[in-house]
Amino acid sequence: MKELSVSELGKRILQLIVSLFILLCVTFVIGRVLPADPVGAIVGELADPATLAAMRSKLGLDLPLYQQFFVYLTGLVHGDFGNAILTGNPVAADMKLAFPATLELATLAVIISTFLGVPLGLIAALFRDTFIDKFIRVIALVGHSIPVFWFGIVGLVIFYAGLNWAGGPGRVDVFYEGMVTPQTGLLLVDSLLQGETEIFWNALSHIILPALILAYAAMAYITRMTRSFTLEQLNQDYVIAARAKGVRPMRTLTGHILPNIAVQLITVLAISYGGLLEGAVVTEIVFSWPGIGQYMTNALMIGDMNAVLAGTIIIGFVFMLLNFLADVAYALLDPRTREATI
């Protein structure tokens, strides 16, 4: 572990803030500048003239563009994402409920894909060019090329409708809805915290299929990169030296090679997590998963720009945060960036 100097950390935080700012500019342009009728996009085409007029003045559409932007920014800072057309609620409130659902799904998927993907990549590298390697690479390649939402549809039909192995759409059976009070918003965690083991198992059966499907798509990237990193290391002198020293193959892998690729893997994981969030957005509607994805998709259908942009900002921010954390982790964990002292 090396200490990150304040200036290095500061530089990175600054970049994060600038990126976020630019994201907000982009969403502003998308929301206000691009559409022919920004107001209609927010309150819906069928709203009455009074609502339209009220929204027009609230948005300050008669103001010059940069002032509009300022109004927009101050609104966001106060957590005001506008109101949703469908529910009439503030989008921020809807997001508070929807975001944890997506978070839970994406997190479980990333955990599964890591614990499957990394070992598979290691094995593929060790048994390079053998049947095992080729088999793993084909599986990874298919995962890389498959449309996740389609795979979700197929999976749902086979494993739920057909085999009844997995729970169906939604986070729990309709029977259990609303029985667990949201503490963290993560149903698996909340149900355990409140001692509702039956609900826990039910929730698990519902989340496992979408999580596995998302994990398969993400696993492809993780496996490929792990294999590539490991192969790089296998040619290095220190690996040969370790073998010459008599270190057994398994121990070489865990004790010597894995630490050397760990840092690169963290970046891979961060990118995968971001990709999983995006994948979840498209796939949630297939599983009727009440997360940001379904929220945004429904909003799209009715042209509710507020909701769509709010989702864009939130996911965009999480994306950037992940990149930032991966960057910082990289700088912290690699001791080679220290100066030679002797």
Binding site: D237, A244, R248, P249, A340
Partner: protein, 281 residues
């Protein structure tokens, strides 16, 4: 005092190494034996000297095809052993010292841990005992303040110190055969002699055999009792003294060395045509 074991450490006859994609032999019909003595292999890049060294430890990449009429270590054949059996030999009875400690030490592990690992593997020591043994070995290779060095990372120490660490790590189990592959080529000239002297000392102390591989014929001649000269995968000559050189290649190598006592206007260049012709015979 019991008589020192004088049996040959390793005995090789007609060693051939070929890499999968090519029909050219990297090592061609090489034969030698090493007893409790210091043997050197001299050659230019591509002569096959490093490949020979690695072949002995069976550390070549899987694409290499290694055959030999005989390759015996301590009397028992090496080529027929499984990878597992080889793993038991490596580090314990046979050791390899590599060229550049910046790359041959694991960059992410502290020095102490890496040396202690060798102690754990071969001396059945754990935890603190392994560390103590590691410290003792680091002292033996003349590193000052070993306690401090053990906490450092490979990129924080100098090349000379790194090679001493390498030597400590590989010789901690007193292996019978030490293969040193260009051990000083990556070091400052001023440090080279010290490292070699140290290696020499340890090898004599353990009554082991040393195979010193280098492109520096003078250095090899100074430290080894026997010299094998390799060219294009073959052993072209075996010498005990530089003056005895007869083969045109060896004589060419020696003639190319600058000697302050015999000044010349131009250093001689190898006449490869003649050498290749001689080899083709």
């Amino acid at each position: 005092m019991p008589a020192l074991d004088q049996s040959p450490v390793i005995s090789v006859r007609d060693l051939n190494v070929r890499f999968a994609q090519s029909t050219l032999h990297a090592v061609s019909n090489v034969s030698f034996h090493i007893g409790r003595e210091r043997v050197g292999i001299v050659g230019e890049s591509g002569s096959g000297k490093s490949t020979t060294g690695r072949a002995l430890m069976r550390l070549l990449p899987p694409s290499a095809v290694v055959t030999a009429e005989r390759m015996d270590f301590g009397g028992a054949p090496l080529l027929s052993r499984t990878e597992r059996q080889m793993g038991a030999l490596r580090g314990k009875d046979m050791a390899l010292i590599m060229q550049d400690p910046r790359y041959s030490l694991n960059p992410l592990l502290p020095i102490g841990k890496q040396v202690a690992e060798a102690a754990t593997l071969h001396l059945a020591l754990k935890g603190k005992a392994a560390y103590d043994q590691a410290r003792a070995m680091l002292e033996r290779v003349r590193i000052d303040n070993p306690e401090r060095v053990m906490k450092l990372y490979p990129h924080q120490i100098s090349g000379g110190m790194g090679q001493r660490v390498m030597i400590a790590m590989m010789l901690i189990a007193r292996p019978k055969l030490v293969i040193a592959d260009e051990p000083t080529s990556a070091l400052d000239v001023s440090v080279r002699r010290d490292v070699l002297v140290l290696l020499d000392e340890l090898v004599r102390e353990n009554n082991s055999g040393l195979l010193l591989i280098s492109h520096d014929i003078r250095m090899v001649a100074a430290f080894c009792e026997r010299i094998l000269v390799m060219y294009a995968g073959r052993v072209v000559e075996t010498l005990t003294k530089l003056e005895d050189a007869e083969h045109p290649y060896t004589r060419g190598l020696i003639a190319a060395l600058p000697d302050p006592r015999h000044r010349v206007k131009r250093l001689k260049v190898l006449d490869r045509k003649a050498i290749n012709a001689e080899l083709a015979q």
